[in-house]
Amino acid sequence: MLNKKDKMDKRGFEFSFVWLFSLIVGAIIIFLAIYAATKLIGSSEYEINTKTAADLRNVLNPLGTSFEDSKSEKIELIRDTRVYITCNSEKGYFGENRIQLSEKSSFKDWSEPGGDIAIENQYLFSENSIQGETLYFIVTPFEMPYKVADIMSVFSQKYCFVNTPEKIEKEIESLKGNILPINLTNSINQCEINSITVCFQNSGCDINVKGACTDKECEGDLYKNGFVEKNNTQIYYSGELLYGAVFSSPENYQCNVKRLVRKLGYVSEVYSEKSRLSANRCNTGLQSDTILLSKLSESYKNLNDLKILESQADIINTKNKALGECNLY
């Protein structure tokens, strides 16, 4: 009798083949479902990041300067975002910047970066990657001697400028408004701990600016050109390129300057042809000078060559000013 009961109990816990089969198949289906869901979320994040990068590119177009000297702007993103900015000076005729975005994800730390979006007609001077919910822009025209393009300095961190020369201080004050997180102080000790410090003529900051303009054409403005020391690298700047040099990584800076100089060559060709076309209505006589500037741009190798371009640009500028109403630009 006892033996029979034992036998009955054993039949109650029987683990048949059907059970085993359905468990295995069920596990496979659940695994595939989870895998597919994860992949779909990943592709959705990729799509969102790519779309946001394309939107950011579209927003950049109206940011450029027209007749104003320079301007500042900020773009607020929906959530904490990493923006990767690269520069390639060899792509096509004008080179390109590429932007790629990665948003902070609710599932993991950072989502998969989206597709990189090419920007050929803008010059983004920034660190290789910037992170934050707000992107700040300082847009200044690059003129040599005529406007070539806009220098777009992009950053997201706080900056602290120490002992800023009067002219630059005034310019930053006018740009800053309530937009830019830039603090102007007289001592490095007054800077916030998490801010990037920028010193003028002194060392000891994260970024050190050394003015080097002592010639007559500098008109007493020591910082009209000079050097920016950053990440153990010293880079030459001239005029409004100062902001690009401060806010950009050295490699992005050098690449973008190369792109700007290449564009200077093409813009000079336009001015040269304009000078020829309008000769019978308004003779400027600047055709050969602009062609020379274009040729000099073509032979540009590195930042040291900027000085040669500057001197030719000064010659054109002086002649253009003397033309009065018949000026070229």
Binding site: K51, N61, E120, Y146, V270, K274, L277, R281
Partner: protein
Amino acid sequence: MENLGQLKIQQMVFMIIAVALFFILATLFYFSIKTANLYQASIESERDRSIGLIIKLASSPELSYTGVSNGIDSDKLMALKKQPEYRDYWGVNGIIIEKLYPKYPDAECNTGNYPNCTKIILFEKDGDVAQSASSYVALCRKDSINGRAYDKCELALMVIQTLENEF
């Protein structure tokens, strides 16, 4: 008992195939909707880019006329026609500027008839045009009367064409 087990396995297999088919169809449906949305997003993105560009283009150094708000330099346009490097620079299919007033002979501008012409086609690529954005501009050039230079500006319409499927 063996036949019953085989029947149950067959039922299970049919069920699995049905479930798998359902998931495949659902996934295909999802991706077809997603692709359609993506295409729409790319069209909208191109439209936004054209609008942004048309605001900016009149003030770009290659086109702008110094001292005139929203002014385009017609001499520069004629110069740009000769520079193929700019065909891809703005990422659009075509840029066309048409003089509206005063009236000129209805002809495309070239070195022979400029400035007595109507339309300056900066460039126009082959391909289906998805959409156009346009803006009124002042088309200006230096001119002179009795040896005295002045800015001569005329009313014109600038049209930007974008390519289909460009993203």
